[in-house]
Symmetry: C2
Subunit: 127 residues, 2 copies
């Protein structure tokens, strides 16, 4: 596991030594769409096409992939309604909802600092 200088009250288990939890989590949410989808679901369940519209730029394939792997990890549930036409709802589990807290914090950081980063990047590139 990474040397993260954890506070003393964190119990480091055996499995953490082999797979750094932070590394795992970053591999988990570090793809192009996972964070977006989780944030879009933070206010309640949404349908496939609704998510597709809200996550501007995502392809059908990537939305399916993203939702599947979130379901696999127990972060959301998939509910199929046997109607015509079909209707599928996606909703965060409690674990998934708990993830929205750090991600929302990250969203707020990005809103507050995105101008500073843009400016700093531009001035760096001038040289």
């Amino acid at each position: 596991m990474m040397d993260l200088r954890l506070p003393p009250d964190v119990r480091v288990t055996e499995s953490m030594r082999e797979h750094c939890p932070l590394r795992d989590t970053l591999d988990r949410i570090g793809d192009r769409w996972t964070v977006i989808v989780v944030v879009l679901l933070r206010d309640g369940p949404r349908r496939f096409t609704d998510l597709r519209r809200a996550a501007a730029g995502i392809s059908q394939r990537m939305l399916t992939h993203t939702l599947r792997s979130l379901e696999r990890d127990g972060l959301l549930t998939r509910t199929v309604h046997p109607t015509v036409p079909p209707r599928v709802d996606y909703e965060l589990t409690p674990a998934g909802r708990s993830l929205t807290e750090p991600l929302t914090a990250l969203l707020h950081w990005s809103l507050r600092h995105h101008e500073h980063v843009r400016a700093s990047r531009a001035s760096y590139d001038d040289r």
Copy 2:
């Protein structure tokens, strides 16, 4: 910009409409090592080789790249000490330090939920 259902007190500027800040931030920190490096620097400046040891598994090339792009974005400073052998310190700027708050929240989430995710993934894969 992504339809993120922002709280009404957030002012959405023109530049945000063109470049979604969350998308930008995720592109920024979504690579394999940025978050790790920022977290490793949260308690103060560290040297190159020190970081290389702490970030288990990183290559020299990627550490250099990661540090450069963080410097470019104004999130850390690079200080070269003209000694023999050379010595270079990296330290977060105030903006960089402010980023450690959401990232530390993410670290804590990963420590708390990594077992749940592992278990859920395993049971999903059994079917």
